[in-house]
C-alpha cells in the first residue's frame, strides 16, 4: 500500500528524505503482516542503507472496540472481555478487573481464594515469559527455542485447562474469588512444573543466554536511559532494565503478595540483554513464589458469597496489577447501574512501544528485530 504523504513526507515523520544525490535514504514498510512484529503492527522505517534513522508505528489493525463494548455489558460479562486484551496474561487481566469491583463493593476474598489468585497469576506469568522466550529466540534466528519454550508452556496450559476449561481466554476469577475451586490435581501439577522449570531454565540459559552470537546481538542494543523510561511511562521489565526498581507487587501490593518473599531483578544498562535477562530472572522468582504458596496452601472456602448480578455504586475506582508486560491499570467509572459508564484500560504495551523511536534510531534493521523482541508487547493490548 502506498504511504500517505503530506508534502511528500509519510505521515508521522518529522522530515523527508535528504535531497543529497549520494544519500542512500529510503522508506521501508515493515507491514502489518510480518513474521517479527508481535501482532499486527505496521512500522514505517526511514533507513540509510541499513541504519535506522526514524521509525513510526501505525496502530489500530486489531482494534475491536473493547472499551466501547464494556459499556453495554454488565460487570460480570465484562470479565470475559478483559481476557482478550493481553491474551497472554488473561488471568492477571481478570484479576485487575475483579480487584476494581471488589474495591467498589467492599468485597473480601477468603484465604484460599487469595492463594489461588497468587498461584494462578504466577503460573500465567511463567507461561507468558516462556512464550516470549521462544518467540524472541525465533526472531533472532534460533528457531529451535520456539519449540523448546512451547514444550514447557504446554504443561502450564494443561493446568489451566483442568482448572477453568480454556487454554487462552480464561474467565476464571470473579469478585470475591473464582468461579470454581481448584481440582485435586492442581497442587501435584504445580509441583511438577516447579521441578521441570528448574531444569528447563538451566537448559535455556545454556542454549541461548550464554551463546556468544546471542550476546553480541543483544548487548548494548537499544539502550533506554532511566529518565527516558520514566518520562515515557514504561513499566514492567522494560523499566526495571533501566535501573528503576518498580514492581506493582512490591511497591503497591495487591492480593497477598506482601506475604511472599521474592526479589525484583533490576538491570543496569537498559540494553536488550538486560530486558531479556530480567525476564529469565522473573521466571525464577515466580517459581520461588509458587514454592512458598504450595507449602502454605490453606483449606476453606474459595469464594465469598456469590451474587447473581453486581451493580457498583456511583464513583470511580482504580486498580492496578503487574501483568507479564508491565503495569495494567483498570479505571471504572460507575453510575450506580448494572453496566459501567466507562472503563479505561491503561495498557503497559502502549507505553512500552512508544519508546521505540528513541531506542531504535542509529541501529540496524536486524537490531530493530531484537528490540521489538525484547520490548515484548502484545498488539491487541495496544489497540484494544
Amino acid at each position: 500500500m502506498e504511504l500517505l504523504r503530506i508534502d511528500n513526507v509519510p505521515e508521522g515523520f518529522l522530515s523527508g528524505l535528504s535531497s543529497d544525490e549520494t544519500s542512500e535514504e529510503y522508506f521501508l514498510n515493515m507491514g502489518p503482516q510480518h513474521p517479527s512484529t508481535h501482532g499486527v503492527l505496521r512500522l514505517v522505517l526511514k533507513l540509510n542503507g541499513e541504519s535506522v534513522l526514524d521509525v513510526v508505528p501505525h496502530l489500530g489493525y486489531v482494534h475491536r472496540g473493547i472499551e466501547k463494548m464494556v459499556e453495554s455489558q454488565t460487570y460480570l460479562q465484562n470479565i470475559h472481555l478483559t481476557d482478550r486484551l493481553d491474551y497472554l496474561s488473561s488471568h492477571i487481566n481478570n484479576l485487575g478487573y475483579c480487584l476494581a469491583m471488589e474495591q467498589a463493593l467492599d468485597i473480601g476474598v477468603p484465604e484460599r481464594g487469595e492463594y489461588i489468585r497468587v498461584m494462578v497469576s504466577e503460573l500465567q506469568r511463567i507461561q507468558s515469559h516462556l512464550l516470549w522466550w521462544g518467540v524472541a529466540g525465533m526472531d533472532l534466528g534460533a528457531i529451535t527455542t520456539f519449540l523448546y519454550g512451547w514444550k514447557e508452556r504446554e504443561i502450564i496450559t494443561d493446568i489451566f485447562e483442568e482448572l477453568c476449561g480454556a487454554r487462552l481466554t480464561m474467565n476464571f476469577f470473579r469478585p470475591g474469588g473464582s468461579f470454581a475451586d481448584v481440582p485435586d490435581t492442581f497442587i501435584p501439577r504445580i509441583q511438577k512444573v516447579i521441578e521441570i522449570m528448574h531444569v528447563a531454565l538451566d537448559e535455556y540459559n545454556t542454549l541461548l543466554t550464554g551463546n556468544i552470537i546471542f550476546q553480541e546481538r543483544t548487548r548494548d542494543i537499544g539502550i533506554l536511559s532511566k529518565e527516558k523510561a520514566l518520562s515515557y511511562g514504561c513499566t514492567g521489565p522494560v523499566l526495571r532494565a533501566s535501573g528503576v526498581s518498580y514492581d506493582v507487587r512490591r511497591n503497591d501490593p495487591y492480593s497477598i503478595y506482601d506475604r511472599f518473599d521474592f526479589d525484583i531483578p533490576i538491570g543496569t544498562v537498559g540494553c536488550s540483554f538486560d530486558r531479556y535477562w530480567i525476564r529469565m530472572e522473573e521466571m525464577a522468582q515466580s517459581i520461588r513464589i509458587l514454592e512458598q504458596a504450595v507449602k502454605d496452601f490453606p483449606g476453606g472456602p474459595y469464594r465469598s458469597k456469590a451474587q447473581a448480578a453486581y451493580s457498583l455504586p456511583q464513583g470511580s475506582y482504580y486498580s492496578q496489577v503487574e501483568t507479564a508486560r508491565g503495569l495494567l491499570g483498570i479505571y471504572i467509572i460507575a453510575e450506580g447501574g448494572a453496566k459501567p459508564y466507562r472503563v479505561k484500560f491503561r495498557s503497559p504495551s502502549f507505553s512500552n512501544l512508544s519508546v521505540l523511536r528513541e531506542i531504535a534510531v542509529g541501529h540496524k534493521i536486524a537490531d530493530m528485530v531484537t528490540i521489538l523482541a525484547t520490548l515484548d508487547f502484545v498488539v491487541p493490548e495496544i489497540d484494544r
Binding site: 514444550k151 483442568e162 477453568c164 550464554g210 551463546n211 556468544i212
Partner: protein, 163 residues
Amino acid sequence: MMETRRDGYKNIVLHSSGHYLRKVATGLISLFSGMGVTVRYFINPSRIITQQYPENRASLQMMDRFRGHVMMIHDENDQHRCTGCGICEKACPNGTISVLTTKDLTGRKVLGRYIYRLSQCSLCNLCTESCPFGAIAMARDFELAEYDRQLLTFVLNKTQGGI
C-alpha cells in the same frame, strides 16, 4: 623514547591478542555447550512430544471442565431440567442463546425450543454458571467445524418441557 614506544606497541599487541583469544575461547565454549543441548534431543527419541492427530483420537479425552460447546443435559428418558426461565439468555454477553418458551397443557410456561448459535458463542461459560437448575453444561467436543453456517445453529433440547 624508543623504549617506551616499543613497550607501548608490545602492550597493545599483547592486550589485543589476549582479548582475541579470550573471545575465541569463551565463544567456542558457549557454542559447543549450546550444541550439546540440542543434540540431547536428537539422540533421545523418547523426548518427542508430537501426537499424530487423527490417529490418536481414541486417546484424546478432554478434561472435566473443558469448555466446548454448550449442551443440555438429558437423562435416559430424554428429560431435561430446563424450565425456560431465561437466566442464561440474560447472562450471555453476546446473544448466543434464545430461550423460546411455550405453554404446556396446564397453561404453565415451559421450554419450547432452546436455540444456541455456536457461530456467536465465545465459550465464556457464563450461561452454565448462572443456570440455577444445572440444566446446561459445556461439552467436551472440540471438532466443531462445519462448511455451512446454518449447521452451527442448534436446538439443544430433545423434548419440550413440562407435560
